[in-house]
Symmetry: C3
Subunit: 161 residues, 3 copies
Protein backbone atom coordinates (compact mmCIF):
# COMPACT_ATOMS: atom_id res chain seq x y z
CA UNK A 1 0.00 0.00 0.00
CA UNK A 2 1.36 3.41 -0.98
CA UNK A 3 1.90 6.43 1.21
CA UNK A 4 -1.33 8.21 0.31
CA UNK A 5 -3.48 5.12 0.81
CA UNK A 6 -1.75 4.46 4.12
CA UNK A 7 -2.66 7.95 5.22
CA UNK A 8 -6.23 7.35 4.12
CA UNK A 9 -6.36 4.12 6.10
CA UNK A 10 -4.96 5.98 9.10
CA UNK A 11 -7.95 8.31 8.85
CA UNK A 12 -10.30 5.33 8.76
CA UNK A 13 -11.16 6.01 5.12
CA UNK A 14 -11.08 3.76 2.10
CA UNK A 15 -11.59 4.17 -1.62
CA UNK A 16 -14.99 3.28 -3.05
CA UNK A 17 -15.47 0.70 -5.78
CA UNK A 18 -15.40 1.99 -9.35
CA UNK A 19 -18.54 1.58 -11.41
CA UNK A 20 -18.65 1.54 -15.18
CA UNK A 21 -20.17 4.58 -16.86
CA UNK A 22 -23.68 4.16 -18.23
CA UNK A 23 -22.37 4.99 -21.73
CA UNK A 24 -19.07 4.02 -23.37
CA UNK A 25 -18.75 7.53 -24.84
CA UNK A 26 -17.13 8.89 -21.70
CA UNK A 27 -14.82 7.98 -18.87
CA UNK A 28 -13.96 9.29 -15.42
CA UNK A 29 -10.45 10.46 -16.30
CA UNK A 30 -8.27 11.22 -19.30
CA UNK A 31 -4.52 11.54 -19.13
CA UNK A 32 -2.63 13.88 -21.42
CA UNK A 33 1.09 14.02 -20.82
CA UNK A 34 1.50 14.26 -17.06
CA UNK A 35 -1.88 15.93 -16.57
CA UNK A 36 -5.01 14.13 -15.47
CA UNK A 37 -8.33 15.70 -16.46
CA UNK A 38 -11.13 14.34 -14.30
CA UNK A 39 -14.79 14.22 -15.21
CA UNK A 40 -17.32 15.86 -12.97
CA UNK A 41 -17.70 13.44 -10.07
CA UNK A 42 -21.08 13.77 -8.45
CA UNK A 43 -23.05 12.30 -5.61
CA UNK A 44 -25.57 10.81 -8.01
CA UNK A 45 -23.35 8.44 -9.91
CA UNK A 46 -20.99 6.29 -7.95
CA UNK A 47 -21.59 4.19 -4.93
CA UNK A 48 -20.47 6.55 -2.24
CA UNK A 49 -18.07 5.48 0.50
CA UNK A 50 -19.67 7.53 3.26
CA UNK A 51 -23.22 7.61 4.48
CA UNK A 52 -24.39 10.71 2.65
CA UNK A 53 -27.46 12.34 1.22
CA UNK A 54 -27.09 12.00 -2.52
CA UNK A 55 -29.88 14.19 -3.90
CA UNK A 56 -31.23 17.64 -3.17
CA UNK A 57 -30.42 21.32 -3.07
CA UNK A 58 -28.04 22.65 -0.44
CA UNK A 59 -29.70 25.25 1.72
CA UNK A 60 -33.06 23.51 1.33
CA UNK A 61 -33.23 19.69 1.56
CA UNK A 62 -29.51 19.29 2.34
CA UNK A 63 -27.67 21.14 5.09
CA UNK A 64 -24.23 22.69 4.72
CA UNK A 65 -22.71 20.04 7.00
CA UNK A 66 -24.35 17.21 5.05
CA UNK A 67 -23.09 18.71 1.78
CA UNK A 68 -19.58 19.04 3.17
CA UNK A 69 -19.60 15.29 3.83
CA UNK A 70 -20.77 14.81 0.23
CA UNK A 71 -17.72 16.72 -0.98
CA UNK A 72 -15.43 14.52 1.10
CA UNK A 73 -17.10 11.47 -0.36
CA UNK A 74 -16.70 12.78 -3.91
CA UNK A 75 -13.00 13.44 -3.22
CA UNK A 76 -12.66 9.75 -2.34
CA UNK A 77 -14.43 8.81 -5.59
CA UNK A 78 -11.99 11.03 -7.51
CA UNK A 79 -9.10 9.24 -5.85
CA UNK A 80 -10.56 5.87 -6.78
CA UNK A 81 -10.72 7.11 -10.37
CA UNK A 82 -7.09 8.22 -10.30
CA UNK A 83 -5.95 4.93 -8.81
CA UNK A 84 -7.79 3.03 -11.54
CA UNK A 85 -6.09 5.21 -14.17
CA UNK A 86 -2.49 5.21 -12.96
CA UNK A 87 -2.32 2.32 -10.50
CA UNK A 88 -1.14 4.12 -7.38
CA UNK A 89 -2.11 7.43 -5.79
CA UNK A 90 1.56 8.07 -5.04
CA UNK A 91 2.00 8.77 -8.75
CA UNK A 92 0.14 12.05 -8.20
CA UNK A 93 2.65 14.82 -7.64
CA UNK A 94 0.13 17.49 -6.87
CA UNK A 95 -3.49 18.55 -6.91
CA UNK A 96 -3.77 21.35 -9.47
CA UNK A 97 -7.33 22.63 -9.37
CA UNK A 98 -10.84 21.70 -8.31
CA UNK A 99 -14.02 23.08 -9.79
CA UNK A 100 -16.81 22.47 -7.28
CA UNK A 101 -20.41 22.88 -8.38
CA UNK A 102 -22.91 22.90 -5.54
CA UNK A 103 -26.60 22.35 -6.33
CA UNK A 104 -27.66 25.46 -4.45
CA UNK A 105 -31.06 26.60 -3.29
CA UNK A 106 -31.68 30.29 -4.01
CA UNK A 107 -29.78 32.39 -1.49
CA UNK A 108 -27.28 29.70 -0.46
CA UNK A 109 -23.94 31.51 -0.61
CA UNK A 110 -21.47 29.32 1.28
CA UNK A 111 -20.27 27.02 -1.49
CA UNK A 112 -16.69 27.46 -0.21
CA UNK A 113 -17.62 25.78 3.07
CA UNK A 114 -19.20 22.84 1.23
CA UNK A 115 -16.29 22.16 -1.14
CA UNK A 116 -13.87 22.39 1.79
CA UNK A 117 -14.99 18.81 2.49
CA UNK A 118 -12.95 17.80 -0.56
CA UNK A 119 -10.22 20.44 -0.35
CA UNK A 120 -9.37 19.66 3.25
CA UNK A 121 -8.97 15.97 2.47
CA UNK A 122 -6.67 16.55 -0.51
CA UNK A 123 -4.69 19.05 1.54
CA UNK A 124 -4.23 16.62 4.42
CA UNK A 125 -3.23 13.76 2.14
CA UNK A 126 -0.74 15.54 -0.14
CA UNK A 127 0.42 18.13 2.40
CA UNK A 128 0.86 21.90 2.34
CA UNK A 129 3.08 22.09 -0.73
CA UNK A 130 1.37 19.70 -3.12
CA UNK A 131 -2.09 19.33 -1.61
CA UNK A 132 -2.88 23.03 -1.67
CA UNK A 133 -4.72 23.68 -4.91
CA UNK A 134 -6.42 26.28 -7.05
CA UNK A 135 -10.20 26.17 -6.82
CA UNK A 136 -13.53 27.65 -7.69
CA UNK A 137 -16.66 26.73 -5.71
CA UNK A 138 -19.91 27.97 -7.18
CA UNK A 139 -23.66 27.46 -7.01
CA UNK A 140 -24.96 25.62 -10.07
CA UNK A 141 -28.61 25.82 -11.13
CA UNK A 142 -29.28 22.12 -11.75
CA UNK A 143 -27.27 18.89 -11.67
CA UNK A 144 -28.06 15.55 -13.30
CA UNK A 145 -30.49 13.48 -11.22
CA UNK A 146 -30.60 16.32 -8.67
CA UNK A 147 -27.18 15.39 -7.27
CA UNK A 148 -26.03 17.46 -4.28
CA UNK A 149 -22.78 18.47 -5.92
CA UNK A 150 -20.25 17.64 -8.58
CA UNK A 151 -16.48 18.24 -8.63
CA UNK A 152 -14.23 18.35 -11.68
CA UNK A 153 -10.46 18.66 -11.43
CA UNK A 154 -6.94 18.54 -12.77
CA UNK A 155 -4.02 16.67 -11.21
CA UNK A 156 -0.33 16.47 -12.07
CA UNK A 157 1.57 13.20 -12.16
CA UNK A 158 5.21 12.68 -11.31
CA UNK A 159 7.25 12.50 -14.50
CA UNK A 160 7.80 8.98 -15.74
CA UNK A 161 10.93 7.60 -14.19
CA UNK B 1 -10.04 14.76 -47.24
CA UNK B 2 -8.76 13.28 -43.98
CA UNK B 3 -10.05 10.23 -42.14
CA UNK B 4 -12.23 12.08 -39.65
CA UNK B 5 -13.87 14.26 -42.30
CA UNK B 6 -14.45 11.20 -44.46
CA UNK B 7 -16.25 9.58 -41.55
CA UNK B 8 -18.31 12.74 -41.09
CA UNK B 9 -19.23 12.73 -44.77
CA UNK B 10 -20.18 9.06 -44.47
CA UNK B 11 -22.65 10.08 -41.76
CA UNK B 12 -24.07 12.76 -44.06
CA UNK B 13 -22.61 15.52 -41.90
CA UNK B 14 -20.45 18.47 -42.79
CA UNK B 15 -18.63 21.19 -40.91
CA UNK B 16 -20.33 24.56 -40.62
CA UNK B 17 -18.73 27.78 -41.86
CA UNK B 18 -16.67 29.70 -39.32
CA UNK B 19 -17.82 33.17 -38.40
CA UNK B 20 -15.61 35.88 -36.96
CA UNK B 21 -16.13 36.74 -33.31
CA UNK B 22 -17.99 39.97 -32.58
CA UNK B 23 -14.94 41.26 -30.69
CA UNK B 24 -11.23 40.80 -31.49
CA UNK B 25 -10.49 40.24 -27.78
CA UNK B 26 -11.29 36.53 -28.01
CA UNK B 27 -11.11 33.56 -30.31
CA UNK B 28 -12.69 30.12 -30.57
CA UNK B 29 -9.54 28.16 -29.72
CA UNK B 30 -6.10 28.63 -28.24
CA UNK B 31 -3.31 26.14 -28.64
CA UNK B 32 -0.71 25.66 -25.92
CA UNK B 33 1.85 22.95 -26.63
CA UNK B 34 -0.16 20.00 -27.92
CA UNK B 35 -3.30 21.03 -26.06
CA UNK B 36 -6.22 22.87 -27.60
CA UNK B 37 -8.40 24.91 -25.25
CA UNK B 38 -11.75 25.63 -26.87
CA UNK B 39 -14.05 28.49 -26.03
CA UNK B 40 -17.58 27.80 -24.99
CA UNK B 41 -19.37 26.98 -28.24
CA UNK B 42 -23.06 27.76 -28.02
CA UNK B 43 -26.15 27.56 -30.13
CA UNK B 44 -26.50 31.33 -30.18
CA UNK B 45 -23.33 32.30 -31.97
CA UNK B 46 -22.42 30.36 -35.07
CA UNK B 47 -24.49 29.47 -38.05
CA UNK B 48 -25.55 26.00 -37.09
CA UNK B 49 -25.18 23.07 -39.50
CA UNK B 50 -28.35 21.28 -38.43
CA UNK B 51 -31.90 22.55 -38.24
CA UNK B 52 -32.07 23.26 -34.53
CA UNK B 53 -33.78 25.45 -31.99
CA UNK B 54 -31.16 27.96 -30.94
CA UNK B 55 -32.77 29.72 -27.98
CA UNK B 56 -34.69 28.63 -24.91
CA UNK B 57 -34.54 26.61 -21.72
CA UNK B 58 -34.43 22.84 -21.89
CA UNK B 59 -37.35 21.28 -20.09
CA UNK B 60 -39.55 24.27 -20.98
CA UNK B 61 -39.38 25.74 -24.52
CA UNK B 62 -36.89 23.13 -25.78
CA UNK B 63 -37.33 19.36 -25.46
CA UNK B 64 -34.60 16.93 -24.46
CA UNK B 65 -34.48 15.51 -27.99
CA UNK B 66 -34.23 18.97 -29.54
CA UNK B 67 -31.45 19.90 -27.13
CA UNK B 68 -29.59 16.68 -27.94
CA UNK B 69 -29.54 17.74 -31.60
CA UNK B 70 -28.23 21.13 -30.47
CA UNK B 71 -25.32 19.39 -28.76
CA UNK B 72 -24.52 17.44 -31.94
CA UNK B 73 -24.59 20.68 -33.88
CA UNK B 74 -22.28 22.37 -31.38
CA UNK B 75 -19.87 19.43 -31.65
CA UNK B 76 -19.70 20.08 -35.39
CA UNK B 77 -19.00 23.77 -34.72
CA UNK B 78 -16.17 22.75 -32.35
CA UNK B 79 -14.69 20.58 -35.08
CA UNK B 80 -14.89 23.46 -37.56
CA UNK B 81 -12.98 25.54 -35.02
CA UNK B 82 -10.31 22.89 -34.63
CA UNK B 83 -9.91 22.48 -38.39
CA UNK B 84 -9.48 26.24 -38.76
CA UNK B 85 -6.81 26.17 -36.03
CA UNK B 86 -4.72 23.16 -37.08
CA UNK B 87 -5.74 22.52 -40.69
CA UNK B 88 -6.92 18.92 -40.44
CA UNK B 89 -9.04 17.09 -37.88
CA UNK B 90 -6.71 14.11 -38.19
CA UNK B 91 -4.19 16.12 -36.20
CA UNK B 92 -6.35 15.56 -33.11
CA UNK B 93 -5.07 12.56 -31.23
CA UNK B 94 -7.83 12.46 -28.67
CA UNK B 95 -10.77 14.24 -27.12
CA UNK B 96 -9.76 15.06 -23.55
CA UNK B 97 -12.77 16.61 -21.84
CA UNK B 98 -16.04 18.36 -22.53
CA UNK B 99 -17.81 20.73 -20.18
CA UNK B 100 -21.44 20.90 -21.25
CA UNK B 101 -23.64 23.66 -19.87
CA UNK B 102 -27.33 23.19 -20.53
CA UNK B 103 -29.68 26.17 -20.14
CA UNK B 104 -32.02 24.26 -17.87
CA UNK B 105 -35.53 25.04 -16.72
CA UNK B 106 -36.01 24.44 -12.98
CA UNK B 107 -36.31 20.71 -12.37
CA UNK B 108 -34.66 19.57 -15.60
CA UNK B 109 -32.16 16.94 -14.44
CA UNK B 110 -31.13 15.02 -17.56
CA UNK B 111 -28.21 17.15 -18.80
CA UNK B 112 -26.24 13.94 -19.45
CA UNK B 113 -28.78 12.89 -22.11
CA UNK B 114 -28.54 16.28 -23.81
CA UNK B 115 -24.75 16.46 -23.99
CA UNK B 116 -24.65 12.88 -25.30
CA UNK B 117 -25.54 14.50 -28.64
CA UNK B 118 -21.97 15.80 -28.71
CA UNK B 119 -20.27 12.97 -26.84
CA UNK B 120 -21.71 10.27 -29.06
CA UNK B 121 -20.47 12.05 -32.19
CA UNK B 122 -16.93 12.50 -30.88
CA UNK B 123 -16.91 8.89 -29.73
CA UNK B 124 -18.02 7.59 -33.11
CA UNK B 125 -15.50 9.71 -34.99
CA UNK B 126 -12.39 9.09 -32.91
CA UNK B 127 -13.31 5.60 -31.72
CA UNK B 128 -13.38 3.87 -28.33
CA UNK B 129 -9.78 4.58 -27.35
CA UNK B 130 -9.40 8.24 -28.34
CA UNK B 131 -13.00 9.41 -28.68
CA UNK B 132 -14.00 8.46 -25.16
CA UNK B 133 -13.55 11.54 -23.03
CA UNK B 134 -13.89 13.01 -19.58
CA UNK B 135 -16.97 15.15 -19.14
CA UNK B 136 -19.25 17.15 -16.93
CA UNK B 137 -22.78 18.02 -18.02
CA UNK B 138 -24.59 20.50 -15.80
CA UNK B 139 -27.56 22.84 -15.72
CA UNK B 140 -26.50 26.47 -15.99
CA UNK B 141 -28.74 29.33 -14.82
CA UNK B 142 -28.45 31.63 -17.85
CA UNK B 143 -26.55 31.66 -21.12
CA UNK B 144 -25.76 34.60 -23.42
CA UNK B 145 -28.70 35.44 -25.69
CA UNK B 146 -30.69 32.61 -24.09
CA UNK B 147 -28.74 29.96 -26.03
CA UNK B 148 -29.91 26.36 -25.47
CA UNK B 149 -26.48 25.13 -24.45
CA UNK B 150 -22.78 25.81 -24.58
CA UNK B 151 -19.87 23.34 -24.63
CA UNK B 152 -16.25 24.07 -23.73
CA UNK B 153 -13.49 21.50 -24.16
CA UNK B 154 -9.89 20.38 -24.33
CA UNK B 155 -8.34 18.29 -27.09
CA UNK B 156 -4.90 16.75 -27.54
CA UNK B 157 -2.96 17.00 -30.79
CA UNK B 158 -0.57 14.43 -32.16
CA UNK B 159 3.01 15.49 -31.43
CA UNK B 160 4.58 17.45 -34.27
CA UNK B 161 6.24 15.04 -36.62
CA UNK C 1 9.10 47.64 -14.01
CA UNK C 2 8.29 45.23 -16.82
CA UNK C 3 6.52 45.93 -20.10
CA UNK C 4 3.08 44.77 -19.00
CA UNK C 5 3.18 46.71 -15.75
CA UNK C 6 4.38 49.79 -17.61
CA UNK C 7 1.39 49.50 -19.90
CA UNK C 8 -0.87 49.17 -16.86
CA UNK C 9 0.65 52.26 -15.31
CA UNK C 10 0.14 54.10 -18.60
CA UNK C 11 -3.55 53.28 -18.30
CA UNK C 12 -3.59 54.67 -14.78
CA UNK C 13 -4.09 51.17 -13.33
CA UNK C 14 -2.20 49.33 -10.65
CA UNK C 15 -2.24 45.85 -9.20
CA UNK C 16 -4.15 45.31 -5.96
CA UNK C 17 -2.54 43.94 -2.82
CA UNK C 18 -2.68 40.16 -2.39
CA UNK C 19 -4.57 38.82 0.60
CA UNK C 20 -4.02 35.42 2.13
CA UNK C 21 -6.75 32.86 1.59
CA UNK C 22 -9.02 32.19 4.55
CA UNK C 23 -7.93 28.53 4.50
CA UNK C 24 -4.49 27.04 3.79
CA UNK C 25 -6.09 24.25 1.74
CA UNK C 26 -6.15 26.37 -1.41
CA UNK C 27 -4.27 29.03 -3.25
CA UNK C 28 -4.92 31.54 -6.02
CA UNK C 29 -2.73 29.86 -8.63
CA UNK C 30 -0.99 26.57 -9.34
CA UNK C 31 1.74 26.16 -11.90
CA UNK C 32 2.18 22.91 -13.81
CA UNK C 33 4.91 22.94 -16.42
CA UNK C 34 4.49 26.24 -18.27
CA UNK C 35 0.77 26.41 -17.55
CA UNK C 36 -0.80 28.51 -14.80
CA UNK C 37 -4.18 27.37 -13.50
CA UNK C 38 -5.91 30.22 -11.68
CA UNK C 39 -8.56 29.86 -9.03
CA UNK C 40 -11.90 31.53 -9.48
CA UNK C 41 -11.21 35.19 -8.68
CA UNK C 42 -14.33 36.93 -7.48
CA UNK C 43 -15.45 40.33 -6.34
CA UNK C 44 -16.15 39.05 -2.84
CA UNK C 45 -12.67 38.02 -1.83
CA UNK C 46 -9.83 40.40 -2.52
CA UNK C 47 -9.57 44.07 -1.85
CA UNK C 48 -10.53 45.43 -5.20
CA UNK C 49 -8.43 48.06 -6.98
CA UNK C 50 -11.38 49.91 -8.50
CA UNK C 51 -14.42 51.40 -6.83
CA UNK C 52 -16.90 48.63 -7.58
CA UNK C 53 -20.04 47.04 -6.30
CA UNK C 54 -18.93 43.73 -4.85
CA UNK C 55 -22.21 41.94 -4.14
CA UNK C 56 -25.46 41.39 -5.98
CA UNK C 57 -27.04 39.91 -9.07
CA UNK C 58 -26.40 41.46 -12.46
CA UNK C 59 -29.62 42.57 -14.09
CA UNK C 60 -31.14 43.31 -10.68
CA UNK C 61 -29.03 45.07 -8.01
CA UNK C 62 -26.00 45.51 -10.29
CA UNK C 63 -26.09 47.06 -13.77
CA UNK C 64 -24.27 45.69 -16.79
CA UNK C 65 -21.86 48.65 -16.76
CA UNK C 66 -21.14 48.20 -13.05
CA UNK C 67 -20.51 44.48 -13.60
CA UNK C 68 -18.18 45.21 -16.50
CA UNK C 69 -16.05 47.30 -14.15
CA UNK C 70 -16.11 44.38 -11.71
CA UNK C 71 -14.65 42.15 -14.43
CA UNK C 72 -11.88 44.65 -15.11
CA UNK C 73 -11.13 44.73 -11.40
CA UNK C 74 -11.03 40.94 -11.20
CA UNK C 75 -8.63 40.86 -14.16
CA UNK C 76 -6.30 43.09 -12.15
CA UNK C 77 -6.60 40.74 -9.19
CA UNK C 78 -5.70 37.80 -11.47
CA UNK C 79 -2.62 39.68 -12.63
CA UNK C 80 -1.60 40.38 -9.04
CA UNK C 81 -1.90 36.64 -8.42
CA UNK C 82 0.28 35.82 -11.41
CA UNK C 83 2.91 38.34 -10.42
CA UNK C 84 3.03 36.84 -6.92
CA UNK C 85 3.48 33.39 -8.45
CA UNK C 86 6.12 34.04 -11.11
CA UNK C 87 7.58 37.43 -10.15
CA UNK C 88 6.94 39.41 -13.33
CA UNK C 89 3.93 39.64 -15.65
CA UNK C 90 6.30 39.65 -18.62
CA UNK C 91 6.83 35.95 -17.94
CA UNK C 92 3.31 35.32 -19.30
CA UNK C 93 3.53 34.44 -22.98
CA UNK C 94 -0.18 34.37 -23.58
CA UNK C 95 -3.62 34.35 -22.09
CA UNK C 96 -5.12 30.93 -22.88
CA UNK C 97 -8.70 30.93 -21.64
CA UNK C 98 -11.07 32.69 -19.25
CA UNK C 99 -14.16 31.16 -17.72
CA UNK C 100 -16.38 34.01 -16.56
CA UNK C 101 -19.26 33.25 -14.22
CA UNK C 102 -21.70 36.13 -13.80
CA UNK C 103 -24.13 36.07 -10.87
CA UNK C 104 -27.14 36.64 -13.10
CA UNK C 105 -30.68 37.65 -12.26
CA UNK C 106 -33.26 35.59 -14.17
CA UNK C 107 -33.43 36.83 -17.75
CA UNK C 108 -30.03 38.55 -17.81
CA UNK C 109 -28.45 37.29 -21.05
CA UNK C 110 -25.51 39.60 -21.76
CA UNK C 111 -22.74 37.85 -19.83
CA UNK C 112 -20.41 38.42 -22.81
CA UNK C 113 -20.66 42.21 -22.34
CA UNK C 114 -19.84 41.88 -18.63
CA UNK C 115 -16.78 39.66 -19.03
CA UNK C 116 -15.47 41.95 -21.77
CA UNK C 117 -14.33 44.14 -18.88
CA UNK C 118 -11.64 41.52 -18.24
CA UNK C 119 -11.10 40.35 -21.82
CA UNK C 120 -10.55 43.84 -23.19
CA UNK C 121 -7.91 44.55 -20.57
CA UNK C 122 -5.97 41.34 -21.23
CA UNK C 123 -6.25 41.96 -24.96
CA UNK C 124 -4.89 45.51 -24.66
CA UNK C 125 -2.02 44.46 -22.42
CA UNK C 126 -0.77 41.38 -24.29
CA UNK C 127 -1.83 42.52 -27.75
CA UNK C 128 -3.73 40.89 -30.62
CA UNK C 129 -1.59 37.77 -30.94
CA UNK C 130 -1.12 36.77 -27.31
CA UNK C 131 -3.87 38.69 -25.53
CA UNK C 132 -6.69 37.24 -27.58
CA UNK C 133 -8.00 34.25 -25.67
CA UNK C 134 -10.54 31.48 -25.61
CA UNK C 135 -13.47 32.17 -23.33
CA UNK C 136 -16.84 31.18 -21.99
CA UNK C 137 -19.06 33.71 -20.21
CA UNK C 138 -22.12 32.27 -18.52
CA UNK C 139 -24.78 33.04 -15.94
CA UNK C 140 -24.21 31.17 -12.70
CA UNK C 141 -27.01 30.54 -10.20
CA UNK C 142 -25.22 31.54 -7.00
CA UNK C 143 -21.73 32.67 -6.01
CA UNK C 144 -20.08 32.61 -2.58
CA UNK C 145 -21.08 35.61 -0.46
CA UNK C 146 -23.28 36.83 -3.35
CA UNK C 147 -20.26 38.06 -5.33
CA UNK C 148 -21.09 39.83 -8.60
CA UNK C 149 -18.88 37.55 -10.67
CA UNK C 150 -15.97 35.15 -10.61
CA UNK C 151 -13.36 34.44 -13.30
CA UNK C 152 -11.17 31.35 -13.58
CA UNK C 153 -8.44 31.03 -16.19
CA UNK C 154 -5.39 29.42 -17.73
CA UNK C 155 -2.23 31.25 -18.82
CA UNK C 156 0.92 30.11 -20.61
CA UNK C 157 4.38 31.10 -19.44
CA UNK C 158 7.41 31.64 -21.64
CA UNK C 159 9.64 28.58 -21.54
CA UNK C 160 12.39 28.82 -18.96
CA UNK C 161 15.40 30.43 -20.56
Amino acid sequence: MGIIESRLAGMGLELPAMHPYPSPNRTACVRSGNLLFLSGHGTGRQEMPLNIKRYGKVGAEVSEAEACLCAKSVALAMMATIKAEVGDLDRVRRVIRLYGMVNSAPGFERQFAVIDGASDLFYELWGPEFGRHARAAVGIAELPRRAVLEIMGEFELHPES
